[in-house]
Structures are given as C-alpha cells and as structure tokens.
C-alpha cells in the first residue's frame, strides 16, 4: 500500500511522449525539402554513403591487383596467380587500414553520382578497400592498462550486412564529366596523395623515436606501417635505422638523406654494415674527410630532491666556488639547474 501511494505521488508521473510523428522527424524532412527546393547547379557534394552503395572503378590509374574477394577473405590464397604481388599490396593495405580504424578516412574518396543512391569511384579504391578490411578484420582490443589498440584478427566469416550499415564520406561529382576529364580527375586525386618524400619520413621518424625513447618506450613495426604506409618488411628496415641512429656514421648519412644529398639505399647499406665496414663505406662515399667527432651526450636524469643536489655540489666544491654555489637559491628549480650545469663544468675542469 505504501509503495503504491509513493509511485502515485504527483510530479513523479512519467510524462508520455505526445502522439503521432515526432517533431524531430518532421523538422528533418522539412530541412531536406527546403534544401531540395533551393538546390542550385552544383559540381559536387560530400555525402555519407554506405559501403554497399559504392561501386569500384576497374580502370583506375593505380595498378592494383587486390580485389574485393581478397579483402572479404582477409588473406591471399596461395593458389592465386598474383600471390606475391597481392600479398605485398595487402600488407600495405593493412597499414592504411589500421590508421583508418583509428582516425577514419581523412581524405574522402572521389566518386561520380550514379542514378539513385549509388556512386562510382574515381579515386580512393585503396582507401575504400582498406576501410572494408578494417570493419571486417580489425578489432579494437583493450590491454591491461585499459588502453585500446587495434589488432588484426582475420575473420573467416565476415558479417556482410555491415556493408549496408557502415558509411564512408565520399566527395560525389554530380554531373558526369567527359572521359578525359574523368581520367585527369582520377589522376589528380591520386597525385594529391603522393607519398611523403623519404627525407620527410625520416625526419619524422627520428624525432618520433627520440620522443618515444624519452618516455621509455620503443617503436614497434606496427607504429610504422600505420603512419608511414610501409609494408612490414620495410618497417623492419626503418626500425634498423632507428636502432643505429646514434652511431656517428649513420647519423651523418641520415642528415644527408634528410637534406636529399644521399640516397636512401646508401643509408640502408650503412645501417646493415658492421662498424669497420661503416668506416670503409663512409670513406668511400665521402672521401678522406675525417669522421665527425664522436660526441655523446648523456641525459642525467631528473630529480625533485633539490636539497640532495645542493649537498652533492657543496661537498664536492671548495673555496670561492663553494661560496658561489652556496649563494644559489637551490629551492628554485631553474637556479638549481643552472647551478648544477656550472658545477659539472667546474668538475670537468678539475678532474678531466
């Protein structure tokens, strides 16, 4: 009895939705109708299109052996005539697929409007295939720190109905261009996304490696196929460069590659060589100029115990220098840093 009277308390009654079609639906339709009525002649528009409504283009400029069957299957059959080429292409595609899973397609593919909802791709075949691969075969998994990461799990029985649900943003050309213009547009769409130069990639890689290292983490091959769009075997070559980047000879060649003075293959050659061979190669390529001084810098780590720093400095210095160090405000991190640098110089002078 008590509970009943409680639920019937005024003000607790749930307000029922009004009858009939919801005003949100009506407003949405009204918006569309207003847009259609005022529509003017247009070259293109951006549309969210389900994958099933996208038709691939067979005559695209990029030579591409992979077909949709391969993507649905998630692997290349060994009996396939183009097994080798296709495997390489699939490996590259997986890289793209990983980044699409993480960030989506940043550059919408170009397509031509067909009657009804369908569109015909002019460019971005690879992106669309990578997208399909990502919905079928890439899963986001959580690790023990509850950070999500993407993992390839080839699904032998992909759920085809996803093709009718998942949508891609596509730049749709509304009026049919002539054949020549169509080809040119497809070419431009592919050219616009021409890969970064080796120098650009290398510069990014080195700074990325340094930043990862300062966080105490190493780069994995997966990071590289994601972002550089390279195959797994290529990724290992890039990793070798990262590992030996502190070697003086390698460092010099890296700098030269970045400034486009030396080819990337020379860098790979010197990375693979041992120390003796590196010197030989270096001398062979760059004449008898002396090898650069081997300066190694050491990061001395970080401490928040500034008092310990002060004690260390004061117990190891004497006389006027000690007075100077005593006058420094060691509680201020900036002064402490400067003071410690001065102390190191003093120490080097004293002990060599």
């Amino acid at each position: 009895m008590n509970t009943e009277s409680k639920t019937k308390r005024p003000g607790v009654l749930i307000k029922r939705k009004p009858l009939g079609v919801q005003s949100g639906t009506i407003n949405r339709v009204a918006e569309k109708i207003a847009a259609a009525e005022s529509a003017t002649l247009q070259e293109y528009e951006l549309r969210q299109i389900t994958v099933s409504d996208i038709e691939l283009w067979d005559e695209q400029p990029r030579k591409f052996h992979l077909n949709l069957e391969d993507i649905y299957r998630g692997k290349i059959l060994e009996s396939d005539d183009n097994y080798k080429v296709k495997s390489e292409q699939l490996e590259e595609l997986i890289g793209l697929s990983m980044s699409i899973k993480e960030f989506g397609i940043l550059n919408p593919p170009l397509a031509l409007a067909l009657p009804g909802k369908k569109v015909q791709l002019l460019g971005g075949q690879r992106r669309v295939m990578a997208f399909i691969f990502s919905i079928f075969h890439i899963r986001t998994v959580e690790n023990e720190n509850q950070e999500g990461y993407n993992e390839i799990i080839v699904n032998p029985e992909p759920d085809m109905s996803l093709l009718y649900i998942e949508r891609i943003e596509v730049k749709v050309i509304l009026r049919r261009p002539d054949e020549l213009t169509k080809e040119r547009m497809a070419m431009i769409d592919n050219m616009q996304r021409v890969d970064l130069t080796i120098g650009d990639k290398l510069r990014w890689l080195i700074s990325f490696a340094d930043r990862r290292e300062s966080l105490g983490k190493k780069i994995k091959w997966r990071d590289l196929i994601d972002t550089l769009g390279v195959s797994r075997s290529q990724a290992y070559e890039w990793l070798a460069i990262v590992d030996s980047r502190k070697d003086a000879y390698v460092m010099e060649v890296i700098k030269k590659v970045i400034s486009n003075l030396v080819s990337f293959s020379k860098l790979l050659e010197i990375v693979k060589a041992d120390q003796e061979l590196r010197k030989l190669l270096h001398d062979k390529w760059f004449g008898d100029r002396p090898a650069p001084d081997k300066i190694s810098r050491v990061s001395l780590g970080k401490t928040d115990n500034l008092k310990a720093l002060r004690t260390l400095v004061l117990t190891n210095s004497e006389g006027e220098v000690k007075d100077h160090f005593e006058s420094i405000n060691w509680d201020n991190p900036k002064n402490a840093k400067k003071g410690f640098e001065e102390f190191l110089i003093y120490w080097e002078r004293k002990h060599g």
């Binding site: 009004p18 009858l19 339709v29 569309k32 207003a34 529509a39 409007a113």
Partner: protein, 301 residues
C-alpha cells in the same frame, strides 16, 4: 575545369508529373489513377506511363493479360504486316515500358477514354531489365532515356500531361522518372516511416535539381493519404505538418480519406466506370475532386 554540360532536353508545353515516394503502400497508384481520370475529364490530353512492375496502374486502363502482368496486343498490331516482323524483339504484338527502355521506342495504347493514351508496364520484362541495369551500370543512359523520348515532337504535340506512376524503390527507373518530370507529387501517410521516407525522396529531388540549370523540378505538393480522422496520432501529425513553415505550404488539403472507395471504384470492371461518375454528393468524390483540383491547378497555373 571544362566539363561536358549535362544537357537536359526541354519541353515546349508538355507537363510531366511523377508521383513518387520510396515508401511502399502510400497510395501512389490510387492517386495516379484518380489524377488521370480527373485530368482527362478536365479536357487535357493525357499519357499515362506505368513503370511499376506491379502493373496496377496499367490494369486500370488496359485489359492486361496473364493475371494483369502482361500488356494486351496492341490494336495496331497486324500479324500480316511485315513491318512488325522487322521489329527487333519478340514476341511481337505488344508494347510496354520495358521495350521503351530497351529499344528506345514505344507505341502508346489508345484506351476507352478518348484523350487518354497509355504505356503499360510488363512485370517480367521490366523486372529483368531492372536486374540488368543493376549489373551493367548503364544507369546513366537509362536516366536520360525517358526525358529524351518525351521531348520528341510526337509527345510534345499529342499530349498536354504525362502522369508517371513509380515503383516504391530507388532505382534507375525512379531516377529516370524524376529526370523526365517537370512536377513531382509526394503522397505520404501520416505516420513515422512514411514521413521519414520523404527525406529519401527529397534527396533524389535535390540531386535532380543540382544537375539542372533551368526548368527545375517543381514540387506540386505533399498529399496525406490513408488519413484516418479517428486517429488522434494522425490528426496531430497532420496538424504539425500543416504548421511547419516549410511543409505547411506544400501540404495539399483535404487529405485522402476514402481509400477503400477509391480502390473499389478503380477496379477493372467497376461500375460506374469512374469515381467521378458516382453521385456528386458521394463524400469520396467530393474529396477527390478537391485535392485533384488543387494538384491540377498547381501544374497548369
């Protein structure tokens, strides 16, 4: 960027009305039949075109064979005439919209009504054609086809109004009807799915207008069909739509209520032959005359 302009053939005076909604069962065909009868009675020369494989619009005005799925033999058909044998299709003797799409030519059927001609549908052939279109990606050609045909002199001179009944789906055929049309009429039920379905229709309409420089596709209006005044939900929806700043102007009043009467009156052997031959006090007739009049005037204003 230089582009080949999409040149849309122009009509001199011909009006082409496409009745379309991607949602099925919203009384598109019933409305097509009523409007055809009404327009004919108003004295305009009408050509009815049925592109719905269900052939119901065709069956209203022609004696379809094979359970209403195939068109009858064409009255001009003469088995002894060698010209028929030269035609590149078989079996000879009839024309349907499927032949029109395939061969680019069709001979409209005369009907019992003097100023009404008709191009019927053909269930099997049209369905086959649709499947081929899906596969061959020749849709672009199909889309322009109907407009190209209607712009030839014969149709421009012989007819004032073309009424096209469409199937409830998005296909090259529906797009073809939209391309051919000068006017668009959207019937809809006053319920969630049908109203939401109009958004798809608007998308097609917008895409069509984005390809036209002049002679934009005009919306004649939205007609509420199968309206039940007893239903509070439908009454409220109708009120909301009529108060909406965009949809309010488009809404055609009164809504269509007497669907059953319309269906009975338009069956093949109905007596009287037409709703408009019923007693003038019949509520269904009064209602139909009201909304048909508005639609007719909006087309020919």
């Amino acid at each position: 960027m230089s582009r080949e302009q999409t040149i849309i053939p122009t009509y001199s005076n011909l009006k082409v009305l496409t009745i379309s909604n991607h949602k099925g069962g919203v009384a598109k065909t019933t409305l097509s039949k009523l409007l055809t009868e009404y327009s004919v009675r108003e004295g305009v020369r009408v050509l009815g075109i049925d592109i719905d494989p269900q052939c119901n619009f065709s069956a209203r005005f022609l004696e379809m064979t094979n359970d209403g799925m195939d068109p009858p033999l064409h009255p001009n058909f003469d088995p002894k005439d060698p010209l028929w044998d030269e035609l590149p299709y078989s079996p000879p003797g009839y024309w349907s919209i499927a032949q029109f799409f395939r061969l680019g030519y069709v001979e409209p059927y005369p009907t019992n009504i003097p100023n009404l001609h008709f191009i019927p549908s053909h269930k099997k052939e049209l369905t086959n054609f649709l499947e081929q279109v899906e596969r061959k990606s020749v849709q672009e050609a199909v889309v322009d086809h109907m407009r190209t045909m209607l712009s030839i002199e014969y149709y421009q001179e012989e007819f004032d109004l073309v009424i096209i009944d469409t199937p409830p789906q998005t296909s090259a055929l529906t797009a073809s009807a939209a391309r051919a049309a000068t006017h668009l009429l959207i019937p809809t039920e006053m319920q969630e799915d049908s109203i939401a379905g109009m958004a798809d229709m608007a998308q097609l309409w917008q895409a069509e207008n984005q390809t036209r420089e002049a002679e934009k596709l005009m919306l004649v209006g939205i007609l509420a069909t199968k309206f039940d005044p007893q239903s509070a939900a439908q009454r409220r929806t109708l009120e909301q739509v009529s108060q909406n700043s965009v949809l309010g102007d488009k809404l055609i009043q009164p809504p269509m209520r007497y669907l059953q009467t319309y269906a009975n009156s338009s069956s093949t052997y109905a007596n009287p032959r037409s709703l408009f031959e019923m007693h003038e006090n019949t509520p269904a007739r009064i209602e139909a005359e009201e909304f048909c009049k508005i639609i007719f005037e909006r087309i020919f204003r």
